[in-house]
């Protein structure tokens, strides 16, 4: 146990000393903060389309009565058009005959003058829309759902790849430099593996927790407390799932990396694990509105850290579902640790050519 902790401590100190790590963490933090702030600004402004009307015309009164338009008054038709040309407004709304006059032959009674493309928002505001009734209304704005999915997917992907490759490099470094021989003659192989996984998991967990706190503070500071309230539980579950999910991935990274003896070979040997990390990322981006895919994702151990928080955010998961998914994740993680430590201990001393997975399992 003492050995495990010493190994974990070393992993953490060496990592925290690396400038590349500190800089990339800083960039990731800034990106999270920026996306929260920008999201707040864009969502908050939702600026209304601007239109100009001729002051005192009958159209002016009716347009001003329409909700969702920012109306500017112009002294004449030409002046209203000029406002369109110089970009002050999106469109000018005139009478049906194109003058400032009263209705006329045009069905809506309006003529909309715009610069180079039909101003959809303005047209929509002036149109008569049929009543729409949703049978299954979504709790969340689809755009926000997309961004939340992107955020969960990206943070999981980035952290898993970063710390997964860190642990892979550290395993191969020890194997390549043969320091592993000294380590193995000093502490049990399981203590060594456990220390590596623990150290990197703590780092990854720390980073994820910091991101979660930062996102929470950012949401509060930009006045998006409603979003925070609906996102909060998802973020907390994300952190919990990530903690276990990362241990799973870290064991896989350590085991596969132990098969090779050179840093150059890490990429190819860990590629299958990297795929396991990338797939949830793409799935959640493309299928965040597909309940079936999300439902499956939320139980598959590799994608549960992304899938389950997403479903919680969408409100499609029952209260017991995250607990069940967590149990599945923990069981699979335990199994992978056993298998991984077998591969790891059987491969560590075989330097040179890549060890075949079958040989590593057989010992």
């Amino acid at each position: 146990m003492n050995g495990t902790w010493l190994v974990a401590q070393r992993e953490i100190t060496m990592r925290l000393r690396s400038k590349a790590f500190l800089i990339s963490t800083g960039i990731l933090m800034l990106a999270v903060l920026a996306s929260v702030v920008i999201g707040g600004l864009v969502g908050g402004m939702g600026s209304l389309p601007k239109v100009s009307v001729v002051e005192g015309s009958p159209v002016a009164a009716s347009v001003q009565a329409v909700e969702g338009l920012d109306v500017r008054l112009a002294p004449s038709t030409d002046a209203a058009e000029a406002l369109v040309r110089d970009g002050t407004v999106d469109a000018a709304v005139l009478g049906a005959d194109g003058a400032s006059g009263t209705g006329g032959s045009a069905p809506s009674g309006y003529t909309v003058i715009a610069l180079d493309s039909a101003p959809t928002a303005v047209v929509q505001a002036l149109s008569v829309a049929p009543t729409v009734q949703l049978l299954e209304p979504s709790d969340q704005n689809p755009l926000i759902v997309y961004f939340v999915a992107l955020a969960f997917g990206l943070v999981f992907f980035m952290s898993a790849i970063t710390f997964g490759s860190t642990i892979a490099q550290s395993v191969v470094e020890e194997k390549q430099t043969r320091v592993v021989e000294i380590l193995l003659s000093t502490i049990p192989v399981r203590a060594l593996l456990a220390g590596k996984v623990l150290g990197n998991s703590l780092l990854a967990f720390g980073q994820i927790a910091a991101i979660a706190v930062l996102a929470g503070i950012g949401l509060l500071a930009t006045g998006q407390s409603t979003l925070l309230a609906s996102l909060g539980p998802s973020i907390i579950w994300f952190v919990v799932f990530f903690a276990f999910g990362f241990v799973l991935l870290a064991s896989l990274y350590a085991a596969t990396a132990a098969l090779v003896s050179r840093q150059e070979d890490i990429g190819s040997v860990t590629a299958p694990v990297t795929m396991l990390v990338m797939i949830p990322y793409f799935l959640v981006i493309f299928f965040n509105d597909n309940p079936l895919v999300l439902g499956i994702m939320s139980y598959v151990p590799f994608s549960a850290p992304v899938g389950m928080p997403m479903r919680l955010f969408l409100g499609t998961a029952q209260w017991w579902e995250p607990l069940l998914a967590l149990v599945v994740l923990v069981i699979v993680t335990a199994g992978v640790i056993v298998l991984g430590s077998r591969i790891y201990s059987n491969s560590l001393l075989r330097t040179g050519a890549r060890v075949k997975l079958r040989d590593a399992l057989r010992g």
Binding site: L6, M14, T177, E181, T186, L349
Partner: protein
Amino acid sequence: MLDVAHVSRSFGGLKALDDVSFTVGAGRMTGFVGGNGAGKTTTMRIILGVLSSDSGQVSLDGRALSSADRALFGYMPEERGLYPKMKVAEQIVYLGRLHGMSPAAAKASTDRLLERLALTERANTTVESLSLGNQQRAQIAAALVHDPEVLVLDEPFSGLDPLAVESVQGVLAEHAARGVPVLFSSHQLDIVERICDDLVVIAGGTIRASGSKATLQSQHGGSRYEIELSVDAGWIRDLEGITVVDFDGGYARFDVTPGAPGVAAAQQVLTEGLRRGSVLRFSPEHPSLAQIFKEVIQ
């Protein structure tokens, strides 16, 4: 005393070690020699428990080794085995702590060893920026930091300049003097010859010879003599049972047939020399380790 008894190990179909047995006595510097692929590294790894044996066992003072015992061993693998990006002192302290030392004890022992190995100035340098010789010294410090009860060193002298060989040799001798069994392998037979007390020769996975250096030398030598006389030594050529291999005025080197008749023939040369004048020197020539090695691995 470290006792390796009937250890065998195969890799796939290849028998790497076949019934390997030898002992490393307390306080004995034991040289472990053999060609490439003879089984030295495999044997050392099995002693350290890094590799398991198919059969046979390793014991210390009559007890089978546990992993707790092995944590008290000092091991230096053949290839450089340190973290390239860690500082020298930090790394040695880390290994000391892995061996179960307290932070303070590990620090004190590290400082002492670095001082002893003339590495103090490099204590805060990363290992990768050390010269090869200094890396090797750091490696030795790493093997010794926890004051091991048994030392197993694979090629501790490779890549060292003569001065470094001397300082490493000194450190190892200190440990041996405290009663620690020291097993070291080397390709540099002259160094082994100079510093070892005992010798183990391995070839093709089997032990070909083992025992004290003196015993092996007398077992494998004793048929060549040197004599130096105050008078011309030409008469030696005429004696029966003597083959002169080198001759220069009063000096002669000659072979006799191995065994008792040969010893008698040599004694006869000495007696005759004394009769003719004074004998300045007379000695059996010890075979060099290289000669013994060549002889036993055939």
